[in-house]
């Protein structure tokens, strides 16, 4: 890991009503790597993703993208720079079709949307890109379905598909496999593996098989503090991690 990190957070903290959700966390993400972020419930993993994505303002610390300070940038500005995220609880446009969900994800990278006349359904350039995404995530048959009417597993696929539109440099994936069952996990694991080459990925995941299969490095959060960050093989041996998380005595 000698290269300059794509995304680098230095000493970021967040308090809610005086209680630290995250305290002085420093984390970096490099080109072509998948960093798995693990930790018990309430450890501050999602808060950390919110801070990196710019949804939650940090109380302290800085975030840099390719060496450029983005601490003060709002989430939409970060997203267009190339820091994309998915949500733990599917955050789709439930009342729009799958096709329009994907269109929106694609459209944001095609310049401004102050275009008032041409129908998006006749916009072949946009549709083609949306359909490419649908094909990669096996959603072609669901294009006319309302996102809210999808089965849970398909919602998770759409969730990740939308995060991937626009070919972001950084992907922050908040439990993409939550609740999709072993079959789906295997499939998604394979997909994420293929994405590593093109995107630097921060993956929050509880499924340890997936973590050890995919991760180049593992970071462990506990009580809002980063207690370990390093080689996946070492994390199994680390005493503190075992106590905090893996439940071994």
């Amino acid at each position: 890991m000698s290269s300059r990190p794509v995304l680098e957070a230095v000493g970021i903290s967040k308090r809610f009503a005086g209680v630290y959700a995250n305290r002085d966390v420093s984390i970096d993400l490099h080109e072509g790597e998948l960093l798995a972020l693990i930790g018990p419930n309430g450890a501050g993993k999602s808060t950390l993703v919110n801070q990196l994505a710019g949804e939650t303002a940090s109380d302290a610390g800085t975030v840099a993208f390719r060496g450029e300070d983005i601490t003060r940038l709002k989430s939409h500005a970060r997203a267009r720079l190339g820091v994309s995220r998915s949500f733990q609880v599917s955050a789709l446009f439930d009342g729009l079709t799958v096709e329009h969900n994907l269109l929106l994800a694609v459209q944001v990278h095609e310049g401004h949307s102050f275009r008032f006349w041409k129908a998006v359904d006749r916009d072949d350039g946009l549709l083609e890109k949306a359909h490419d995404l649908a094909r990669r995530f096996d959603l072609m048959d669901d294009l006319p379905t309302l996102a809210g009417a999808l089965a849970h597993g398909e919602k998770r696929q759409l969730e990740v598909a939308m995060a991937l539109a626009g070919d972001p440099a950084v992907l922050l994936l908040d439990e993409p496999m939550a609740g999709i069952g072993p079959g789906g996990s295997v499939e998604l694991t394979r997909l994420l593996d293929s994405l590593k080459a093109r995107h630097a990925i921060l993956l929050i995941e509880h499924d340890m098989d997936a973590v050890f299969a995919l991760a180049d490095r593992v970071a462990v959060l506990d009580g809002g503090e980063l207690i370990f960050c390093g080689d996946p093989q070492e994390v199994r041996r680390d005493e503190g991690v075992r106590r905090a998380y893996l439940g071994d005595t």
Partner: protein, 330 residues
Amino acid sequence: MADRLQLIRIVIVVVAGVGLAVLPWVAEAVGEGFVTYQVTRMLIYALAAVSLDLLVGYGGMVSLGHAAFFGLGAYVTAILSFHAGDGSNVIEWPFVIAGSNQALWLWVLSMLVSAVAALGIGAVCLRTTGIHFIMITLAFAQMLFFFFVSLEQYGGDDGLGFYGRNALPGLDVDNDTQFYYVCLVLLVVFVFIAHRLVRSRFGIVIRGARQNERRMHALGFPVFRYKLTMFVIAAAGAGLAGALMANQSEFVSPGLLHWTLSGQLLVMVILGGMGSLFGPVLGAFVFLVLEDVLVAYTEYWMVYFGPFLVLMVLFSRGGFWGFIKREGSE
């Protein structure tokens, strides 16, 4: 099933369109010419309701101040027409605005003034959402209402009358039938523009923002400026409707900006069907026809209208238009 409903929708729109196109002739033929005048009023409110639905139905911005832009548009046209009547200027410093009777100038100016007001008001209001948005739009509208109440030189509380409708080249809009067609054409044009708008890139951004603003931000959309643009477009539509309203009755009063009118416009939208373009037109007609009919029986017509509205909201979330819209469509 879906195709059949679509067929029903097309049939309804065609029948309504043809019906509206021939209405003045029929009214004349059966000796009820005044119906044309009354339906003109419905067309104008329909235009205002469609513009409100762009905000509420498509943008999820429930405004209780839309009448402010309606009334503002009406006053702009009325004040300039009033000055045209006695040949005076509206203002002389820092520049001269002369009174005018030219529809093409006045109606565009009404839209512009409403749009500019919406730019300022929206920039403040859209920093809030939900119940706060409702309250703050209401507050701004009431401020404008009291501004016109206190505007003594233009009649204040009593309102402002002017003589003769605005001049349109080649037409005689003082003739109720011709004015009817002008309003009908403007409504059709506005609905068509709105139809294109909500299906465009801009439109889908607005609809996405209504569904899930957080995700819009995460995707990279600066949502605020899109919502503000929609707020301005809707206000311009209301401003045009106001200009027509002033012409219809050759009179304006602060009542055109009152929050009860904002409420009525909302009722029309909900009754007809939010998030559709023909729904609000339908809603405006049903509302005003029912009002006319019920008022003939009792001054307290709202006593009967209220329960009807409650039933509609309970049993059809999509209003009248919702009855003929397929489940699971956008």
